[in-house]
Every structure is written in C-alpha cells, then in structure tokens.
Point group: C2
C-alpha cells in the first residue's frame, strides 16, 4: 500500500448491544504502514477474520472508554493472539482499569500471553501524546461522555522533501549532500554559487490525519485540536428525533457531528456509532448535510481510502 | 412446547478461537419449560438473536470453566440484559472467580444491572446439586481439564402417575382420592375392596436427562453419574490423528467420547467442541461409530429434539 494513503476499515459502527448482523464499535486504521486497532466491541476478532486483516500486523490497540460496546471483544483478541503463538509485543492504550480487567481474567483463566503485553493507562484530561515515532504521532482527544473517554488523533509527520534528481545531476551536486537537501538545506557549489533548496526539491506529500471521536456529547473544545484533519469520525448515535437523549446518555446527533466538522474545517466527516433503533441510515446523512457537505456514513465491513 | 420434549440448541460448538463463521461454546437447553444457557463463548448474544431465542426467558447461566471460549461472551449477555431493561433476576453458576470478573467490569464500566444478579460460585470436586425445583435438578459433573471445570447434569424428576379416568369412574372412586392416587396410593372402596394403584393409573412420562461434559479428558469416573442419560454432549476436540494432544491440553477424541457413551449406556451422544483445524466433521462420527452407534455431531444453529 502507498504510504500516502490512509485506509480505514470499519469492523463495527453500532451503539449499545450488537444486533444479529450489526457489530459494536471497532475499526482498523492503516496509516504509514501501521495497523492501529481502535476499540474492540464484542466480536472484533471475528470481524478481523471476515475482513481478512492480518492479526500479526496489529501491535497497538486503542480503547476509547470502558463501556462494553467498545471493549468486550478485547479479551478475545488478546487470547486468540496467544493461541496463534504470537511473539511480538502488543500495547493497549486505554482508561485506567483496563489493565486490571485484562490481568484478572488472564490470572483466573490461567492462560498467560505468549507475547509481551504492555499497557498504557490513560487518565489525563488534556490532549496527551501517547505514541510517537519518526512517521506519526497519536494524541488523546478528551471527550465528554458519561464516563472518562478519549478520542484519538492520528497525525502523520511531514516527510522529507523530495529530491529533484534531474536538476541535482545537471548541477553536478555531490550525492553526499542529498540527505541534507531532503531535510531542507541549501547547497553551495564549488564555484561559490548558493543553490536554494526550493530549486532542487519538491514539496513532500502532505501529512494526513485521522480523528476518532466516540463516544461524546457535542463538545466544541475539541475543535482547535482537530482543525483541518483529513478525516473526522464523529459519533452520531441519534437523529434529531431523539436529540433529547444526547445529554443524559452523553451522545451526539448527526447534525451536531456535522457542526463540529464544519467548525473544525475538516476535509471529510464519517458518521458512526448509530443507535440500532434506526432502520434507514441515510437519514443521518440527510440531517448532517445542511451543516457539512463532505459526509459519509460508516458501514460494517467498509473500507474508506483517503 | 410439550413438557415431554427436551430441546437443545447449539449456539457454538468450536474450541479455542472463533472462526470467521464458527462460534465457540454456547448452547441453550429447553427442559420442562426452563431455558438454561450453558457456557457463553464470545458472540453468544448475537447467536441468541440469530436463533431467535427470547432473552427474557433465560434466568440461569451455567459456566463450565474459565477459559475464554466458554465465557468471554458472558459480560455482553449481562450488559445487554440491562440495556433491554430486564427486571427478572439472573443467576450465574460457575467457578470461583466468575463473580470477581463480572463485578470488576460492572464497577469500571459504571453500568450496573437493571435486575438482581446472583452468583452461585462452584469449587466442589464432587457432584453437587446446584439447582432444584419440583420439576428438575441440576448437578455438577466434575471434569478433568487443565483448570477447574464442571459439566452439568440436568435431570427431570419423575412426574405424578397418570389417572386412568375411565376405570376410576367405573369403580365410582371419589374425586377426593385422585391426588393420593396420582402420587401412587392404593384405594379402599366402601365395600372394603382394595384397588391397587397399578389398576387405576398409567406410568408417568419417563424423566429425561441431559449431561453436558465439556471440556474434559477421558474420565471414566463420570460414568456412574451419567448412566443411562437421554443425551450426553461430550467434547471431542480431536480426531485420532491428534490423540497425543489430549493429555497436555485436557481434551478428548471422538473415540474416547464414544467409549464413555457406551460404558454409560446413554441413549444419544452428541459430539462437540471441535478443533477448528478440521474441515470434514463427518470424520468425528466415523471415529466414534465403532464404539457407539447413536451418535450425532453438533452444528452451530442446530436444534436437537429428544
């Protein structure tokens, strides 16, 4: 896969209890050749199999909050990785308590993992970088739900500038300078001429970003953090007809999600975490469209490419 | 449904990790109008929905042992019962530790049940009656697995004798004696003649019984307890080709399950808990048949009637 594409596969996009053919929240983000598993509703491992996602490529699992429809499938994933004799480390990022839940069950089942299992327990109420390497960062997005909940912002780093190889050859620039040039440096030729970096490089591919925001009430304070992201996945549990349920349950409507998308000027909005009470999901698009045009709805088993 | 039929619906019959279309252990026994849920592999609630089993009719859940493929779906069932605003009590029977696992997750998810949730934690290593009413009993069947495990024996009680109403009328027996007669009593007529109970009653319907034995190694000491049961479900994780794995993993082959069925002189044998490594399940029948003829294999979504 090109490192310039961001692939998002929806394993489950429904709220509360799974239906006979409706999965609760789980998704896989493929970004810069990392496969990040986000939330683990019951049946996640089965959905991974059905979507032919390679278990051994998953090294990081992010759990937004400790409601069952977002983590009851986690133990199954952890257990099956052992049955498959995994040896590579796995790190789980989630609210404080997730470690106790997992370790208690490992202890009582007397089945220990075949691989190192790490936990990064979260309790911060401000955005916090929880993963970083040379290609990307993952930062928490504090949400407003009934219990402690985080969204996650996955951000590519801007890569090196691309060498204009023909110009470099014409100018007879020595290869030893190429690394410096890709990092933005100018070059002074033997005759003293200074070649500006912009004359011998192209801009790098734009850095893409994905913001996962579920579950949450309408929360304007997240807007500065998700400003201009490539894709925003924002929960929209309800349609306007049930807007009165948002406050007591800590959820949003499609219109509210679209207003966040608009105010944050994101490129694309994906709606998800639908209450299973609704039959016609196109109504979510209809209610979001007046506020934000570039909107799509999640669907179990669907892969979005950006 | 007739109270003389025993219905067994297989929700899942595979071992270890679920496959894309293979569920781990769970089944529903309908006996004397009780719906007993036995084991709860991940995805049990979805399988219940797909098999159109009414959630509100389940009042008792029996967990054989604390391996994930037998209980990772329990939290989902407990949670969904609350989302459905259940009010009737639910009792969970399972190894010591099951209560701690459930209560920790309820505490951390801050979602308490809408109904009374009771636990009957098991640690006895001898057969123990864990449920009894006027129609039936449920008794543990201590098994031999890698960790503490019980099978469960569901036994109907023999009902009252059936009145031969025509004979009673001909003999002008007063109705006040009917109750005594149904319980097996003789009757003395006004003229002093003693009428033997057998002359005025028919035998009651035979008491049926179901023995669930999974997971376990070949264990002859269970034979006296399951002698002559109507149906034995015995695990057969392996075929002969993998018989060497039985001892280290605490499982049985199809041939071993059939030998137990034969020695216990049960009426029917159902094989289940198949390793997902096998493609052709008819081989399990083939390997069992030399030892026990009346054998069938479990199948996700299949209902057996006895």
């Amino acid at each position: 896969m090109s490192t310039h594409q961001l692939h998002l596969t929806i394993l489950g996009c429904y709220a509360g209890a799974p239906g006979a053919y409706k999965n609760t929240t789980s998704q896989v983000l493929n970004i810069r050749n990392h496969l990040f598993l986000i939330d683990c509703g019951e049946g996640t491992q089965v959905a991974l199999r059905r979507n032919k996602i390679k278990f051994s490529s998953i090294h990081h699992i992010f759990i937004s909050h400790l409601h069952g429809d977002h983590f009851f499938g986690l133990m199954g994933v952890i257990n099956t990785f052992s049955l498959l004799k995994r040896t590579k480390p796995l790190t789980i990022y989630g609210p404080v308590g997730i470690k106790e839940i997992v370790l208690l069950q490992l202890k009582l089942t007397e089945t220990y993992t075949s691989y190192p299992l790490h936990f990064s327990e979260l309790d911060s109420k401000t955005p916090t970088v929880i993963f970083e390497n040379d290609k990307l960062t993952v930062t928490t997005i504090p949400l407003k739900h009934r219990i402690y909940a985080n969204g996650f912002l996955f951000q590519e780093k801007i890569g090196e500038r691309k060498l204009d190889i023909n110009t470099c050859l014409n100018l007879e620039i020595d290869k030893v300078y190429y690394s410096k040039i890709k990092q933005g440096g100018d070059v002074t030729l033997d005759n003293g001429t200074v070649i500006k970096n912009s004359e011998i490089t192209f801009d790098p591919a734009p850095a893409k970003s994905y913001a996962f925001c579920s579950d949450t009430r309408y929360k304007e304070s997240i807007i500065p953090q998700i400003k201009g992201v490539t894709v925003l996945y924002h929960e929209s549990t309800f349609l306007e007809s049930h807007a009165h349920l948002c406050k007591p349950t800590g959820h949003s409507t499609a219109a509210q999600a679209a207003q966040i998308a608009s105010k944050a000027a994101v490129e694309h909005l994906i709606l998800g975490h639908f209450s299973t009470r609704y039959g016609d999901l196109s109504l979510f698009i209809k209610e979001a469209a007046p506020y934000f045009k570039n909107v799509d709805i999640a669907e179990d088993g669907k892969t979005f490419v950006f």
